[in-house]
């Protein structure tokens, strides 16, 4: 069977696949609307939002952003090596990608524990309702992304692998989507109010 490389310049074949890009835009709109709602509420309770924001650790948020960006960078390299049919290096960078995700979750868990111990739970005030809902929803995406990456890793590791480059690109697009969402959450929740 003759296979042609996918022409990503075609409107129906963006990198990662059109279905995934529809999901990405749906997710971006969902988070975007929720964040704008948060900003609208902040006008009504500006003092509460400012004082609550000061309870958040900007260093943790910045480090977590670096973790996700670096993880996304490794994912891009992993896809690059797979296209060159260098599965060994692709797997190495896929492992580093997952490590970045695990580090993000580790630091986020530490931050959550800190907030719970301080009594800053979901019902504390409007700011923390948004904080918990938005960041937890994002964390769920990161966990799902990690599960997808583990399945890709297992698929590529098999001797007679049926995992295609399109599968890996779609998984990579989902992982990068977690980056994109965090790049919207971080400035608004941690820095602006």
């Amino acid at each position: 069977m003759k296979t042609e490389p996918i022409n990503t310049k075609n409107i129906f074949y963006p990198p990662g696949g059109i279905l995934l890009w529809i999901i990405i835009f749906l997710e971006l709109f969902t988070f975007g609307i929720a964040l704008i709602a948060m900003v609208v509420y902040s006008k009504e309770e500006s003092t509460i939002f400012h004082e609550s924001r000061l309870f958040l650790n900007i260093a943790f948020g910045t480090i977590n952003t670096v973790f996700l960006i670096t993880s996304g960078f490794f994912m891009a390299i992993s896809v690059h090596y797979l296209k060159q049919k260098n599965t060994k290096k692709s797997l190495l960078f896929l492992t580093l990608t997952m490590l970045g995700g695990v580090l993000f979750l580790g630091l986020k868990s530490f931050e959550y524990l800190d907030k719970i111990e301080a009594g800053l739970t979901i019902g504390y005030n409007t700011f923390f309702t948004f904080y918990w809902m938005l960041t937890l929803f994002h964390v769920i995406h990161v966990v799902v992304g990690l599960v997808i990456l583990v399945s890709v890793y297992v698929g590529l590791k098999k001797e007679k692998s049926t995992t295609t480059i399109e599968d890996v690109e779609a998984s990579a697009a989902f992982w990068h989507m977690c980056d994109l969402i965090w790049l919207l959450l971080f400035p608004i929740i941690y820095l602006l109010f």
Partner: protein
């Protein structure tokens, strides 16, 4: 390996640190700077890590319009 992607990664990390530092100062245009730099990071990830640079103009325009509208609407409600 593509050296451009390494450059983009370093730039994204530097922008992240810059945004963190800007937020600690009480500058009058801090919100604009934070949102502007964050939008740049968003575009960097979409165009280089997600390879949207190689995609059809429709997808590039869609992501640019999204991030532009999001930043503008946020700024309007903030002020």
């Amino acid at each position: 390996m593509n050296s451009r992607i390494i450059f983009v990664w370093i730039l994204l990390v530097l922008l992240t640190i810059t945004v963190g530092v800007i937020s600690s100062f009480s500058l009058s245009y801090a919100a604009v700077a934070i949102l502007g730099l964050s939008a740049l990071k968003f575009i960097g990830v979409a165009f280089y890590f997600m390879e949207l640079k190689k995609a059809h103009i429709f997808w590039k325009a869609a992501i640019l319009i999204y991030v532009f509208l999001f930043s503008i609407i946020t700024l309007i409600y903030l002020n």
